[in-house]
Amino acid sequence: MSVTTGPVTNWRRPQVQQGWLARLFDSKIFLIIACLTPAMGLLVVFLTYPLGLGIWLAFTDTHIGRGGVFIGFENFESLWYDRVFWGAVFYTVFYTGVATALKFALGLWLALLLNENLPFKSLLRAIILLPWIVPTVLSAIAFWWIFDAQFSIISYVLVDKLGLLDHYIDFLGTPWAARWSLVFANVWRGIPFVAISLLAGLQTISPSLYEAALLDGASSWQRFRRITAPLLMPILAVVLTFSVLFTFTDFQLVYAITRGGPINSTHLMATLAFQRGIPGGQLGEGAAIAVSMIPFLILATLFSYFALARRKWQQGGDDE
């Protein structure tokens, strides 16, 4: 393009100064490749490749510091007869199921409470998100102390203050108590995320719908059942998928509080994979345990995909 000379003589179009570099950056193909390379490169090298490598490792007998050979399904066969592994599968499903259900019930309740007309709304929101912000391991250590066998504050309140029990609870010493304690800690950490996400969903629901229902004489349960629940469903499905995914693959909380004990009763699949793979050195077997989680994750992802597809027709197909 040429310089346009007009009545204003000292005005020049900026592109005259462009060098070869700028012209190179104007080429769309080059630009696309240049823009995508850093992100895609990192993801392919450190995410896609390891994912494939992990599946390969699951079929080998690799140890740390020693390459392995292909052994077919041997790892999976030995896992099939491994009671600790099945215990971990059971506890992972139990932990995910119970914790997710509680997180959603309580999170929805909290979201509904926060959606009321309250003073100090933003302060409240900030406070409520704290458990979600703080590093999980560090709050897990706090729970470890709260669940201490001798000096548990919960036991102290129940036994010495309220007199409801006559002995201190051994929270982390017996299998079922430990299982429930971990679920409790997980729910504590998960509620804020669920509540704040659902609150955002609640705030998109137009108040005029409630007014109309009110004029029609709907009870508060009816308003919840017929207006809030259906309109909240799409966002609920997305949050649910994330919550299930991250609870299922949880590692930090269990590793920090019980490390799988007592007698392997609280191993999740992730902690068992870690224990066998890294300190145990059997990378192949650890990888096999990790790979066993994949089918569950695919199920959860598909669920998310179909929930999102459902959302389009619900809102007239024009929400993207």
């Binding site: 450190f46 995410l47 933003s122 706090a142």
Partner: protein, 292 residues
């Protein structure tokens, strides 16, 4: 605002008297807040308790501290490598955040603005990458890290953290770029600006709120990361705060609860302070990302 007003009118209209509102809204809300905050209170109070009070519930009420002490914090700061761990965590979090931000800004710009054939599929691939959890990647990554000779070096973490940061940031930034009117860029194109100039002068300044929220998310996520840091780092001086507290401070059968709690408190504070400055960005992007 209008929403709050209508809620008020609704309350005046009928069904919710003041007492009932106290029972159905404030009481449960206060219970929630107390339960959600109690562990932090307990952490703080334990961190400043002398040992005599910590293990004697009969003479001292466990909920209060009679003679607060800084001994635990002092011990943590001057008798362990805690400052060193804090520095490591900070360094790794900042580096990983910068790398991920640069990579995701470029990727999000390419996907959302350059609109090429298959950009939707690239976006979908990045979304799926977000759903791949670290728990199934750490074993193969550990063997890669060994082979690359990065084991026990901060680079192992700086290079692997972007795998979960980039998908999230890209996703968030695509949403932000979408909200910037395309006409602005068209105008600039007509005026003869190059693509690079457009990105630098128009799109990026407008996307600053998005960049800030992506940055906060990346920083907190890297600060909180645990499984990679546990698997890839072995020497004490290279550990990050969450791993070091759990592996270095927990020794033997008698747990030093005072210094453990002090460590947890100090490890949580930087993120909490950082978060409190940007809480509104954080909330809006968290909810925005979920709604996307």
């Amino acid at each position: 605002m209008s929403k709050a007003d209508t809620a008020d009118e609704g309350a005046a209209l009928s069904w919710q008297s003041k007492q009932r509102r106290v029972v159905t809204v404030y009481v449960p809300l206060i219970c929630f807040v107390i339960i959600l905050l109690f562990p932090f209170y307990w952490m703080t109070i334990t961190a400043i308790k002398p040992n005599a009070e910590m293990f004697d519930y009969k003479t001292y009420s466990p909920f209060w501290v009679v003679s607060p002490t800084l001994a635990n914090i002092n011990k943590l700061l001057f008798e362990t490598s805690y400052p060193r761990w804090l520095f490591n965590t900070m360094l790794i979090a900042v580096c990983a955040t910068v790398i991920s931000l640069v990579a995701s800004v470029l990727a999000a710009y390419a996907i959302q603005r350059l609109r090429f054939k298959g950009s939707a599929y690239v976006g979908l691939a990045i979304y799926i990458a977000y759903l791949v959890p670290p728990s199934i990647l750490f074993i193969p990554l550990a063997s890669m890290v060994f082979k690359l000779g990065l084991f026990d070096s901060p680079f192992a973490l700086i290079l692997t953290y972007p795998t979960f940061l980039i998908p999230f940031c890209t996703w968030l930034l695509i949403g932000y770029f979408k909200s910037i009117p395309y006409e602005l860029e068209e105008c600039a194109l007509i005026d003869g600006a190059s693509r690079l100039q457009i990105l630098r002068r128009i799109t990026l300044p407008l996307a600053v709120p998005g960049l800030i929220s992506a940055g906060i998310f990346s920083f907190t996520l890297s600060w909180n990361e645990f499984i990679y840091a546990l698997a890839f780092i072995s020497s004490s001086e290279n550990k990050t705060v969450p791993v070091a507290i759990l592996t270095e401070l927990v020794q033997g059968d008698v747990y030093q609860w005072g210094s453990l709690m002090a460590g947890s408190l100090l490890g949580s504070l930087p993120v909490a302070i950082f978060y409190s400055f940007f809480v509104d960005y954080y909330v809006s992007s968290l909810t925005g990302a979920v709604k996307e």
